[in-house]
């Protein structure tokens, strides 16, 4: 019973525990390091932003794709993470990296606290409750009596993190690599969660809440904790973002941020964690792409970027109804099918090389030798 009518999660099944995830992580790290030493500073900033969005999207996907609860207010937790980190850095002199666990903790509490009562609501009603959160947030950040802490409408400036230990990196490279490390760690944790007992409980609650409870799943607890975890991911992303940009202001955390995150998740693929990289790329680059695209029509086309954005969005949902992750999966399955047809001998179940025999033989030899 997915919260969003009509949108079916794609890679919805809980992945089995595999030891096969190391290659994907290694490839991502190598690609990231290559990027860090070859891309320009401005591009690195954009790529770092992609990784930050990816973290927020992974959290949102745990909530929506896996647990079936919708949030239109994820941007609010991103804002709490960002402002919280900025206040810690600017007013209390806390080191930027230390703000990440602190804001993770605080946002988990905020999410859990909000989720416990809110998750009694379902579907559209939950969507509205979370939407209210997204609408309220800029107002709270603007609130006059908080000006001393938040800097009011003009926002709050923080020092961007410096490269430590005289590492041979410039600031952009350092920040990008920090975001890369954070994104990979958060992805790793999400994969662990999803392939565990609580991960199965999350999906079970989404697919059939009554049956899940009858199997012993504590619905209220699992759902609220999942909401807390999603908020934690958004908070970490927000805190990283504050450090990367060196500035927070209420305008950055409008309702549009929450909606963008929802768009990124659906475009990337509900129920796919790696797919959130694709979703993040969409959020980061498609608005700019739409801008430059509409520039071709001259000054008269003021509102055109959003029209172009809309066209891009519709095109992707038409071409990849299960998000980009779903499309990639289908292509992979298609290629595998072709390969299986081309060489029928190459079945997936290759006879296992008798791994047990080899050490035994070796043992035998060594005993003979000694």
């Amino acid at each position: 019973m997915s919260a969003i009518a009509g949108i079916k999660p794609q890679a919805a099944s809980v992945p089995q525990r595999k030891f096969g995830r190391a290659p994907a992580f290694a490839a991502a790290l190598i690609a990231g390091i290559l990027l860090a030493f070859n891309a320009s500073g401005y591009h690195l900033f954009q790529y770092a932003q992609v990784l930050i969005y990816m973290i927020a999207l992974i959290g949102l996907n745990l909530l929506t794709g896996f647990n079936g609860s919708i949030s239109l207010g994820h941007g609010a937790f991103f804002a709490i993470g960002g402002y919280g980190a900025a206040i810690l850095m600017a007013h209390l002199g806390v080191a930027w990296w230390l703000t990440l666990p602190i804001m993770a903790f605080i946002c988990f509490g905020a999410g859990f606290g909000f989720g416990m009562p809110a998750l009694r609501l379902e579907g559209l009603y939950l969507a509205l409750a979370t939407f209210a959160l997204a609408i309220t947030m800029p107002g709270i950040l603007n609130y006059k009596h908080f000006d001393a802490y938040t800097g009011g409408t003009s926002g709050l400036q923080v020092d961007k993190p410096k490269v430590p230990l005289h590492l041979p990196l410039n600031q952009d490279q350092w920040l990008f690599l920090c975001c890369l490390a954070a994104a990979m760690l958060m992805l790793f944790i999400a994969q662990n969660l999803v392939a565990s007992r609580v991960g199965r409980a999350m999906v079970a609650l989404r697919d059939h809440p009554i049956a899940a409870q009858t199997m012993g799943v504590n619905s209220a607890m699992v759902k609220a904790t999942c909401f807390g975890v999603a908020a934690l991911y958004a908070g970490v992303a927000g805190a990283l973002d504050a450090a990367l940009v060196g500035f927070v202001a209420p305008d950055s955390y409008s309702v549009f941020l929450s909606l963008s995150l929802l768009v990124g998740m659906v475009v990337g693929g509900l129920g796919s964690l790696w797919g959130m990289l694709a979703g993040a790329i969409f959020i980061e680059f498609v608005p700019n792409l739409a801008d430059s695209f509409s520039d071709m029509f001259g000054e008269s086309a003021k509102a055109l970027p959003w029209a172009v954005y809309g066209v891009f969005l519709i095109a992707i949902l038409l071409l990849a109804p299960h998000g980009i992750a779903g499309a990639v999966q289908r292509v992979v399955a298609f290629v595998r099918g072709l390969m299986a047809k081309a060489s029928p001998n190459l079945t997936p179940e290759l006879p296992a090389i008798s791994a047990g025999n080899q050490p035994a033989e070796q043992n035998h030899r060594t005993t003979q030798g000694s």
Partner: protein
């Protein structure tokens, strides 16, 4: 007289939905390792009673005791750990999950690890996970589901899904198994197989079975005890032969079917 202390004791249970009385002063008990058929015409309150036992409904009056523990103070999610498992009338599986994962959710109560232990993949969590996987795999073996263990259940035929649901229900080694219309949608041979299977499950696993079923032949052949409900009241309780001969039952339920 009862031969042994009852496993399940239902005393004076009434259930009202607004003005509608679904169950009225229902009492019966079930001994360990016995098979009890719950019969009655449509709307007699059979599934309502199941839902009271699963804590999906709060009873209006009465008490339900299982192995000396009152169920009424417990949460829905406590019932499985206590030793009561069930299947549902229209099969309630997790459709996007594989057969194996469905059965693993059935074994949820074997573990205790929460989000933190899972995120960090602590040793205790990994050990639990091995235990849950082993339990699920042995059930999948037992129910002959190996070939489809990794298929999403949503794509499987109805009869197979019922088997998956049965395997999932047994994953916690329950002491009481509630089966809600296990024969619905099965053909003649499959019903024969089911009779043998229910008996085998009871014998092998020492589990008591309470089953709601319209298929009279199955109920009368498989049950040690039959409880007949009509309009939310117990109208007969005894051996299959006794209930089959009961005048009220014949009138209310078997009248047009008995021949």
């Amino acid at each position: 007289m009862r031969e042994s202390a009852p496993l399940l004791d239902v005393v004076g249970v009434s259930m009202r939905f607004g003005g509608i009385v679904a169950l009225k002063d229902v009492s019966f008990s079930l001994a360990p390792e016995k098979i009890c058929g719950l019969i009655g015409p449509n709307g007699a309150g059979k599934t309502t009673l199941f839902n009271c036992l699963s804590r999906l409904y709060d009873v209006s009056e009465g008490s339900i005791t299982f192995a000396g523990t009152s169920l009424l103070g417990l949460h829905r999610h406590d019932i499985a750990r206590l030793g009561i498992a069930r299947t549902f009338q229209n099969v309630a599986l997790f459709n996007e999950m594989s057969v194996l994962e469905n059965v693993m959710v059935g074994a949820h109560g074997l573990g205790r690890a929460g989000f933190v232990a899972a995120a960090l993949r602590r040793r205790a969590e990994r050990d639990e996970e091995k235990l849950i996987l082993a339990r699920a795999e042995s059930l999948i073996e037992e129910f002959g589901l190996n070939a489809i263990a990794h298929r999403a259940v949503g794509q499987l035929p109805f009869g197979t899904r019922k088997r998956v649901e049965m395997a999932r229900a047994l994953a916690m080694n329950p002491r009481l198994l509630l089966l809600d219309e296990p024969a619905a949608g099965l053909n003649h041979e499959e019903v024969e197989g089911l009779i043998a299977e229910i008996r085998a499950i009871r014998d092998r696993r020492k589990v008591a079975v309470l089953l709601v079923e319209h298929h009279m032949n199955l109920v009368m052949r498989v049950s040690d005890q039959v409880v007949a409900l009509n309009f939310g009241r117990v109208i007969a309780d005894g051996t299959p032969a006794h209930v089959q001969a009961d005048a009220q039952v014949l009138k209310a339920y078997l009248g047009d079917e008995a021949a």
